[in-house]
Symmetry: C2
Subunit: 213 residues, 2 copies
């Protein structure tokens, strides 16, 4: 197998061309608005299943763009997603990425309430945050369930949910729960997802909004 | 779709049981040594393709365990993998995780040499490190190619390579290059991988070595 000669600056562009070619081969046509996001998810996973399972609520892409442009924060359920999100571009719009998972108070509350740290961190975020927030959930379905419960109880309403936890226990059901609500969302149906996928979705939006430097 | 009632502490165990059941259904039998690692990769991706593509050099699992027990450092090519690796357990054995990607000097060298930052950071690591290192590459095939080139030139020999970059340009070829060498390695053949996968492999080994607290 031979190495392809590609300049460092051109690797990403060449990757996206290959993704485009393979989508065409599979006869998959993605809506124009959603395309850069779904393609970046495929870029980060090399998994074309996402072309079939990524699910967007009506006008989701416009809504998440508007939120970022107006300085919304992003709350994640893992430090890996926090590490992966382009914080520099987000900061240009006035937003920051928050992850409360490592707060000592979160572990304590989770133990007291018999819930996961992810669920406790969502309730914490709902109380802490003073401006609209995009929740980018790449790991814990219990975080999505906690957001759903708060919405049902009328105690908190997330501005946007990126619902891409990965795994085997309640992952599919938690995503379907979010899809039953009227919260604007981007969800990957099924078991697949991850903090890398959550970060890729946020970054795809940020790169589209990026001001020329 | 109903939510399954699982206690927070039991979610991971239940997930691994489901993975075990599905491997059995697919008639996939993993070697005993490799099983906890490949299963954790499936746990982090919900992707059973890994059961077919994860590739271990002879005695790779024993070798990586010995390295960690003797205090080897881990070098990664992304801050996401750095965020995902359990640094607390690694520190118990005397190791730490290093990622040189964000060093200002790396961007400068990459620009001067016309190579990627990942490649430049491997050469930097080769010069900086004073003890044996495990290279956990979850993003850039150019990092693997750089390690291969240094080995060929006789300028540096990594103690172990986890070769799981993801993507479309030279990813498969770079992994095959590493598999032609005599460096002990764990490689995921094909396009798939990622910093989450790199972190999962390291963590699977760490959890097996973990001293009871």
């Amino acid at each position: 197998m031979n190495l392809e000669r590609v300049l460092p600056a051109e690797i990403e562009q060449r990757s996206f061309e290959i993704i485009e070619e393979e989508l065409a081969k599979r006869k998959i046509v993605l809506p124009e608005e959603e395309k850069p996001i779904t393609k970046r998810v495929i870029h980060t996973s090399a998994d074309f299943d996402y072309a079939e399972t990524m699910t967007y609520s009506d006008h989701a892409v416009d809504q998440i763009k508007d939120l970022i442009l107006s300085g919304a924060d992003i709350v994640t359920d893992t430090n890996m997603a926090l590490a992966g999100i382009n914080k520099k571009i987000l900061a240009e719009f006035g937003g920051e990425v928050r992850c409360f998972m490592a707060e000592p108070e979160i572990a304590k509350r989770a133990a007291e309430q018999g819930c996961t740290r992810a669920a406790a961190s969502m309730e914490w975020a709902a109380k802490e945050l003073t401006k609209p927030a995009i929740f980018a959930i790449g790991n814990a379905p219990t975080a999505l369930i906690s957001l759903y419960d708060m919405l049902e109880e009328g105690t908190y309403r997330p501005a946007f949910v990126i619902g891409v936890p990965v795994g085997f226990v309640n992952v599919e059901a938690a995503k379907e729960l979010i899809l039953t609500t009227d919260i604007p969302c981007i969800v990957n149906r099924g078991r697949k997802g991850g903090s890398n996928v959550a970060a890729a979705i946020v970054n795809a939006v940020l790169y589209q909004l990026q001001r020329p430097s």
